[in-house]
């Protein structure tokens, strides 16, 4: 009777087949689902089937996000295009938690040198750059980025102002259709102005010709110098003769 009573309580969730199984365990094949030992449950959980990851599924969800707000996106991309056409210098700067006050001061200082601060979403920038000739700039637009644009390439002033705000990190710039890294921008700022460079170029070109002219003139110059010296000596000699003559004249 105890056996039959116990058999009713078998299919409980928390019942463990430990001591009871020894007394009157059921056979291997039963009509009911036998309670599974906890350790066997763990083993089954560890050895579950893991399907292979299909690559197509992972890529597809990203595509749908760009379909939202196509009108806003179109407007922004037009603005981006306009800025790229108008400005000669476009610097990409990463701003790490700049306060509104600091941003305002920065904008004021830059505005004095006619440098504008532009904010565009990275996705819009990347879409525009992919289709334009600036496709190599796409890599710069990762993370919180800000654009410094200006019509004249005023790199030195920009660097001086950026030195004042340490949290703005200059990543790269496109100056007159030339993409430059941070080191490139520093070197560009250290270049002298155009007039001096032109003068240097002209003088450098003239060096050869001036040297040849000097070499050609060396012999006649030497000759004329010698003749002059001779004349001088002669005049000194006559004057010496003359002086004693005059002295004689005076004395006599």
């Amino acid at each position: 009777m105890a056996a039959t009573l116990c058999s009713r309580f078998l299919p409980k969730q928390s019942w463990l087949p430990l001591a009871h199984a020894v007394r009157h365990g059921s056979k291997a094949v039963t009509r009911h689902r036998k309670p599974v030992h906890f350790l066997k449950q763990k083993l089954l959980a560890v050895t579950e089937y893991v399907p292979p990851r299909s690559e197509g599924c992972a890529r597809n969800p990203r595509v749908s996000h760009t379909q939202q707000d196509s009108r806003v996106v179109a407007f922004l991309s037009k603005q981006v295009k306009a800025t790229f056409q108008q400005s000669k210098m476009i610097a990409v700067v990463q701003n790490n938690s700049t306060t509104a006050e600091d941003m305002l001061m920065l904008k004021h200082r830059l505005r004095k040198h006619d440098i504008f601060v532009k904010f565009f979403p990275n996705q819009v920038m990347r879409d525009y750059l992919a289709n334009s000739k600036y496709s190599n700039m796409e890599l710069l637009f990762i993370g919180p980025t800000v654009l410094f644009v200006s019509k004249e390439p005023k790199v030195k002033e920009m660097l001086q102002i950026l030195r004042g705000s340490p949290q703005m990190v200059l990543i790269g710039a496109c100056v007159e259709d030339t993409l430059m890294s941070r080191q490139g921008i520093l070197q560009y700022s250290q270049l002298p102005s155009l007039a001096t460079v032109q003068g240097q170029v002209v003088s450098g070109l003239n060096v050869l010709t001036s040297q040849t002219a000097a070499m050609l003139h060396r012999h006649p110059a030497h000759l004329s110098a010698l003749l002059q010296q001779y004349l001088k000596q002669r005049s000194e000699g006559t004057s010496e003769v003359g002086i004693p003559e005059s002295q004689e004249a005076t004395t006599t």
Partner: protein
Amino acid sequence: MNLLLKSVCRGGPAAALCCRSVACGGVVMPERTKLKFMDKVPTLKKVRREMKRLKDISGPERKLNTFTTGHYGIVALGGGYLHWGHMEMMRLTINRSIDSRTMFAVWRIDAPYKPITSKGLGKRMGGGKGAIDHYVTPVRYGRLVVELGGHCELGEVERVLSEVAKKLPFPAKVVSRESLAAMQQEEAEKLLNNQNPWTFEQIAVSNMLGIRKVLSPMDLRHHGRFAGKFRVPGRV
């Protein structure tokens, strides 16, 4: 016993004309198209009581799990015993619905041969083994129970077969040649493309963490896919 000659289908220009074997999608109508009557009791000279041997229900069916002559059938998705009542139900339902000129049905199980004893109601324990009460046929997971064929489509036979499948003592499913092959191939593929580096077989066979204390010899054989007569779903 009928010896069916397997026709080897070779391709080529003549294939379309002369290749009409069942393997190529052709239809070969047998002599008797309806399901034949199954005896309740096998004709034996000596009647012997047998042990339970419940292992004839557990685990997968390895041999009799593919189609022979028919195109549609019922496949068992669990283990169990079929007795004469089930067979009569199947026979009558199917014979009523098929058109004997265009369709045929074939048994894929034997008549009941395993004796099941019973002590009778109200008897106390002891006094020896009981007398034979009835006979059953054991069926494992993956076994084909009955096959249908002929000039018919799945849509026509699916209704009848699904009605029959519901009444069987184990879960069963209506399949066609293609769907059964697809099912079996999917299971085989899952074995190969499983990304989990840990498998039940590996851990059980090498007795990692002494897990064999809580496993049975059946787990070693069936790798955790079967629990008694039930197929554990989702196990590879």
